[in-house]
């Protein structure tokens, strides 16, 4: 009976190898992370998905505050005239914003867009509050939702509305602003690797791929299980371009009016997409312990037998102060519960039945490796702690090994094409710096430039595409 149910449940998830896109959709729906809504391209984030986001938020927010950032809240609407102040910015975003034209029954004199990002609003505020070098640096962050009118959408990966944080900072010098840009990129990398267990490559975007209005865009790129790249966080250096457009000036140490230097940086609910596609398997989600809404689920076996439920409750109460623990005492069969919590990616399962109680032990099962441990109840919290640490580390290591085994060097254009056709993953290849070559590779090979990684590798002397002297090594890949 239990077995039957389990098989049935697991069958509802398409295998990753059969159809990766369908597998993704199945996991999102079956694990109840998100649901579709009737609002075009918008999703409903369900309790389990939102709980993951809350853990992401809590951790990142702490990191931001420890580096001196303060949270604020800006309006969700931007007047059209404000969006237009910075030329590159409006060109990049105007085609993909939602426009409010009426308030109640009245037509507005100026239409307002729902923020796709808030540089313009922050700049207008900064103009009012930055007067002297003593006001700098200004280190603001905002948690909110933004909207971009996307044509094709997928839950978490690309939705018309999404939740994110956007940091916006102003600095006295270009050097300080550049330092901030790198600091926050490192914060993202730290978070993704050490909390999400997602290995990333840090690098700089090419001009073609950079943020509308930025001088430089830095990115952390992660590899999904299908070999595609997911841009998981970006950090932008603006120079004083926006400051000039918005006429933001401060009295410097030399008492001269000076334009401040600016950054912005953001990550979004998209990271949940990375978590699913890096760690998930054919049985569903696998969530790293540091981010998991439930780190340990207790499943009583032969629950009707005297003493079992009491023991399970006692363990639940004892472990609750230390772990995010759930006791599943619902009236379903244990096998059904095992499959259900595996599908939801709970890192560790504790089984406790009459025989275990007799022996003063319990069974612990890892979600990532399915390894089973018979553990004495005395001191079980130490073992749980150890196992959670081990799961966290080993999930990262496995993802890293996978990624490293799916990165290929290509010295020639033919080699690049052949690899792209045959092997999912990233390709390291040299680039001359011309956008023409970038576009040609996109059109002919089907790969886009992911980034110029900080850790450069010398693959050859010349551009893989045109044969002119190379300026940088670029990581190329298919992207979400």
């Amino acid at each position: 009976m239990a077995k039957e149910n389990k098989d049935k449940l697991v069958k509802e998830i398409t295998s990753r190898d059969t159809d990766f896109a369908q597998w993704y959709t199945d996991v999102v729906k079956k694990a109840a992370l998100a649901d579709y809504s009737t609002v075009k391209g918008c999703m409903i984030i369900r309790p389990y998905g939102y709980a993951i986001w809350e853990n992401i938020q809590k951790t990142l927010d702490k990191m931001f505050k420890e580096t001196g950032h303060e949270n604020v809240y800006m309006p969700m609407l931007i007047p059209e005239s404000l969006l237009q102040i910075e030329k590159d910015h409006v060109e990049g975003f105007a085609p993909e914003v939602a426009w409010v034209t009426h308030g109640g029954n009245e037509k507005l004199t100026e239409r307002l867009c729902i923020r796709p990002t808030s540089e313009t609003l922050f700049c207008q505020h900064y103009k009012n509050i930055i007067h002297s070098y003593r006001d700098l640096p200004m280190l603001y962050n905002q948690w909110c939702s933004v909207m971009r009118w996307e044509k094709t959408t997928r839950p978490f990966l690309r939705t018309t509305e999404f939740l994110w944080q956007e940091g916006h900072t102003m600095h006295e010098t270009a050097e300080e602003a550049r330092e901030e840009t790198r600091r926050m990129l490192n914060t993202y990398a730290d978070f993704l690797e050490n909390y999400m267990a997602v290995p990333v490559t840090k690098g700089q975007k090419t001009d073609k791929e950079k943020f509308a209005g930025a001088e430089e865009t830095y990115t952390v790129e992660a590899m999904m299980h299908d070999g595609k790249a997911l841009q998981s966080g970006t950090s932008h250096y603006f120079g004083d371009g926006f400051a000039k457009a918005f006429e933001i000036q401060f009295a410097g140490r030399d008492n001269k009016l000076t334009f401040p230097h600016q950054t912005s940086w953001g990550v979004s609910t998209r990271m949940i997409g990375a978590l699913i596609m890096v760690h998930g398997d054919d049985d569903g989600l696998v969530i790293p312990p540091k981010i998991a809404p439930v780190q340990l689920v207790i499943v009583p076996v032969a629950m009707q037998k005297p003493g079992v439920l009491d023991k399970a409750r006692e363990l639940f109460a004892a472990l609750k102060p230390q772990f995010r623990v759930q006791l599943d005492d619902s009236d379903k069969m244990p096998g059904w519960k095992f499959a259900e919590h595996e599908m939801r990616g709970v890192p560790l399962r504790m089984e406790i039945g009459p025989k275990d109680i007799e022996k003063g032990q319990c069974v612990l099962v890892r979600r990532d490796t399915r390894e089973k441990y018979f553990v004495p109840l005395e001191g079980v919290e130490t073992k749980i702690s150890e196992l959670l640490d081990e799961i966290q580390k080993s999930m990262f290591e496995r993802a890293k090994t996978f990624r490293e085994s799916h990165i290929y060097d290509a010295a020639t254009y033919d080699e690049m094409k052949k690899t792209a056709e045959e092997k999912p993953g990233f390709i390291n290849a040299m680039w001359c710096g011309d956008v023409e070559c970038e576009e040609k590779i996109k059109d002919e090979v089907g790969l886009s430039s992911r980034c110029m990684p900080f850790e450069q590798k010398h693959v050859s002397d010349v551009c893989v595409c045109c044969g002119k002297p190379a300026k940088a090594m670029v990581i190329w890949g298919k992207s979400y």
Copy 2:
């Protein structure tokens, strides 16, 4: 010098008695809680204001979770056809929503409004996920921003966009839903009284004042320092009205298809307005310790003298694990700092100078009463703890005394008019239950019904307005 600066700073805030509305605006701006934006009716919540909101959120979110609620996130846009499904609801909200008509360069086939509240979205989702009585109760909450196209706006009190939480729950029976409605109203009252130190009256709204689409609306009403009422939180019982309109049905215990019973409840950034207007004084904000972003500020005196700054830093480090503490070691004069932190409403100030250090003591000054304490440094954390508790309690008691001394009984219409003209505050008066009398009192006396309080008082036998037999005692007041 310090004295001068203090006088100057304080002068920038209009006295409460001179012009309460201007005093409010001054405090909001000078304490840097919020700023105006160029987006009509929208405000910028600045770091100090947002830190207050974060403390409110953290505390309430914990209370919600402890009572079994889960957080979710719904889309910010509602298709017009969806808003129209429940007749009373659309009538109430359609005149005050912002309409999105274009996405990018394309005109939409159906216009979408920015959520003014999300009952309709939750109902549509519930229709998909509620199938059996086993799925109930469904206890959801959402933290988000909403938008209502207001004509006149004031920071925190009434803004086009505001931040709030909206709880939406579904229950098997009417009784359970009513219980939830009351439970959440009590949660709000508990939070307002025991964290915000704002005494409230719990009661039911009249039909005229209830939420569009609700069967019953409950409210917590607070009295501001000018005697006006601020509706500080509401909890609605919907019966099965929305469920019928949205065709949400579940298989009951008897296996028959049944409509679930619904509630919703919300509080918003408006509560920050209550905090300002209940506790503030002519020197600015006064914030209760449990909500204050900074509970204790350390101001070193004669900072340039050897040992002072070291001692201040040592105290800061020692107190930080236990309190939200700030060390103000900026290069301003102590007097300026005193005034600044008083204006920001920091509950407790510690002054530490060379003479204090010699004597092994410090000076603690309460913001609420200005009382000064000379306290030995040995064990100072115990005294700080005690004082913060005392401030929290005494702020509540003072607000309660103020409120009680500004509530008047009126047995006759003349008495009601006279009191309304002469004395700011609330009036207890009997009511027949007819909306005509309610409207007449609004027009002629200038008071609206705040609520029919749970704790009824028998003021007279008949309606204060028409003389017909009274059905309930109503609290009447001017409202924000």
